[in-house]
């Protein structure tokens, strides 16, 4: 039985609580992008993907997710913990010495659910394409999902991969870009304009969809639509429009909270805005 939209929203609210608590606890990390992408992660891991928390690196017969913009690790880790990959109590070790929950995700610490290191931007789409090619060679019908930041599109390797996937009909791949229009130094359109992303990806030969990334019903619906469009010769790109910091009013829509931790008072303010639903770790 798939969870209802309301149930997914409750899970998302808990994950948002985890994000601000994790970043607060170690006084470092990236809350803004994590909060913006929480609905996507929740939909993916609790409704859309066919995956097994009894983690196997090779993922034969199951869907794979790659996080390319690794700095939003808080949302990734919390989602994995809630999905049963590891104990939720481990979230308290985030970014602390001897943790498996490194600042940016890595396979080096053997954390279940992580299949590639990411942090240095622009590499995840290539990796996802490789995994998708292997699935095709293995006759494995399951899918590969990736998430990227919009600022990450400024890396040249993304466009190498963008060219490759349609040319090679990698149509078991559903990529998503978190279009929040913000990066460390300010709004994306001031740092380095991305232009018309829909037209760009379409010009490269992708099947392009758009969704409201902070509307759970729309996220689930669009990801399901994307799944229905796989196997038709084109890779799929979803432009996901989100607000950085979504769910915490003083963090919303500003690049200021890209990589800043809340203080004690701000933590309480944030938690007051996020309904506790499932119990904190």
């Amino acid at each position: 039985m798939k969870p209802t939209i309301q149930e997914l929203e409750k899970t998302a609210s808990q994950i948002r609580r985890d994000i601000v608590r994790m970043v607060h606890a170690c006084q470092s990390g990236h809350p803004g992008g994590s909060l913006g992408c929480t609905d996507y992660f929740t939909a993916l891991y609790f409704s859309v993907m066919n995956h097994d928390p009894k983690f196997n690196m090779d993922a034969v017969g199951e869907d794979i997710f790659f996080l390319s913009n690794g700095h939003i690790s808080p949302v990734f880790y919390s989602t994995l913990a809630h999905a049963g990959y590891f104990d939720k109590a481990e979230l308290a070790t985030f970014r602390k010495l001897n943790t498996r929950l490194q600042g940016h995700p890595t396979t080096h610490e053997h954390l279940p659910g992580v299949r590639i290191a990411s942090g240095s931007l622009g590499q995840g789409l290539s990796v996802a394409i490789g995994a998708a090619l292997t699935k095709k060679l293995n006759g494995d019908k399951s899918l590969v999902f990736t998430l990227h930041g919009d600022g990450e599109l400024q890396e040249g390797q993304i466009w190498e991969a963008a060219m490759f996937a349609p040319h090679n009909k990698v149509d078991n791949l559903i990529s998503t870009i978190d279009v929040n229009g913000q990066q460390i130094d300010g709004p994306t359109n001031l740092v380095l304009s991305l232009g018309d992303l829909h037209a760009k990806w379409e010009a490269f030969g992708w099947d392009v969809l758009e969704m409201k990334g902070n509307d759970m019903a729309d996220v689930v619906k669009t990801l399901e639509l994307a799944k229905s469009r796989t196997g038709q010769g084109k890779p799929i790109m979803i432009l996901m429009h989100t607000e950085m910091g979504y769910g915490v009013d003083f963090m919303v829509g500003s690049h200021k909270w890209h990589g800043v931790a809340p203080n004690d008072e701000q933590l309480q303010l944030a938690l007051g805005q996020l309904e506790e639903t499932l119990g904190d770790y």
């Binding site: 290191a117 290539s126 394409i129 490789g130 995994a131 090619l133 490759f164």
Partner: protein
């Protein structure tokens, strides 16, 4: 001095091509990727027999490294192919994060290493790749000396679990190793036992070391020659054993003297048995245009320079004894 003769000369990269084909036949998980240099990497035979297991990436080496890393998820054993410069320096961060740090079973196969791209000049040559790759934790670094050894190494790395950098060259060089050899990763190969000086050579310089050994023998100097085909993990035991006997060392490589085989050996010696050492290597400079033969002479990477280095280091050994 053991006598090495040869009846045939071939390029080491053709050994890679032959090894790749055979590895592909032995294991259907072996796949190959190339960045628009199929002919240069001698991948044609593999592609002809296994077209579905070949990925043409185009001139996009960063993407190639990422795709190779991703292909390991699900069990493939990817071999990437391009020139050594574009296999390492150009894509260092991709190799570091997606392959080495992620411990992916990718075989980075690099042709035209060192000065051997000759006339193309420094942009297409690389003298820093051994250093770059050996500094990555978990990376195995191999540099082969002839056609047979390159073929054997290619087969061996297909069976080795973990990231590997395999370095080979373009020019035609004598085939002097056994066609049916078993390549043991990390195990140095004794070319010639001797008592007066240890010559540790890698890649194309192994043949030059053999020629140097013959010249030295004529002058009554008994050189021990060891082929260090695996620079990492280094066979420290073989190095120390040889040095205990000879008391002085020449290292020879087609690489910058900083960060290559010579430094790996110096590190072992400094911590276990400090020993006089001379480097036959490029003296911290870029390459330039010229035929490979001209460049090897100009940069001092030939038998003659190994002989000079051996005599020099033997003198230092004697002085060291006297000073005590």
């Amino acid at each position: 001095m053991k006598k090495y003769t040869y009846t045939d000369k071939k390029d080491t990269r053709s050994g890679f091509g032959a090894g790749l084909l055979e590895a592909g036949r032995k294991n259907d998980q072996v796949v190959a990727l190339c960045a628009d240099l199929i002919g240069s990497l001698k991948m044609n035979d593999f592609i002809k027999e296994f077209p579905e297991r070949f990925v043409q990436v185009g001139i996009a080496e960063a993407n190639m490294m990422g795709i190779a890393a991703g292909m390991t998820i699900g069990g493939k054993i990817p071999f990437t192919g391009t020139f050594a410069n574009f296999s390492t320096g150009r894509v260092y961060d991709q190799i570091r994060q997606s392959i080495a740090y992620s411990n992916k079973n990718v075989k980075i196969c690099a042709s035209h290493a060192g000065l051997t791209l000759g006339e193309d000049g420094a942009t297409h040559q690389i003298l820093e790749d051994i250093g770059l790759m050996k500094m990555l934790p978990g990376m195995t670094v191999i540099n082969t000396c002839d056609y047979n050894q390159t073929k054997a190494a290619t087969l061996a790395i297909a069976e080795h679990d973990g990231p590997v950098y395999l370095r080979f060259g373009r020019p035609v060089v004598p085939i002097f190793t056994d066609p049916d050899q078993k390549f043991e990763i990390g195990k140095a190969w004794m070319v010639n036992e001797g008592a007066d000086v240890s010559i540790f050579a890698t890649g194309h310089l192994v043949w030059q070391a053999i020629l140097a050994g013959e010249i030295l023998a004529e002058e009554g100097i008994d050189a021990e020659i060891i082929n260090i085909h695996t620079i990492k993990p280094l066979d420290a035991e073989a190095v120390l054993k040889s040095v205990a006997k000879t008391g002085c060392v020449v290292t020879a490589e087609e690489h910058n003297r900083l960060g290559g085989l010579g430094d790996s050996i110096a590190q072992v010696l400094a911590t276990h048995n400090p020993t006089p050492q001379e480097y036959v290597a490029v003296n911290d400079s870029f390459g330039e245009s010229g035929t490979p033969e001209q460049l090897m002479t100009k940069y001092g990477l030939d038998a003659e320079h190994i002989v000079l280095a051996a005599k020099k280091v033997m003198k230092r050994k004697q002085n060291a004894v006297i000073s005590i």
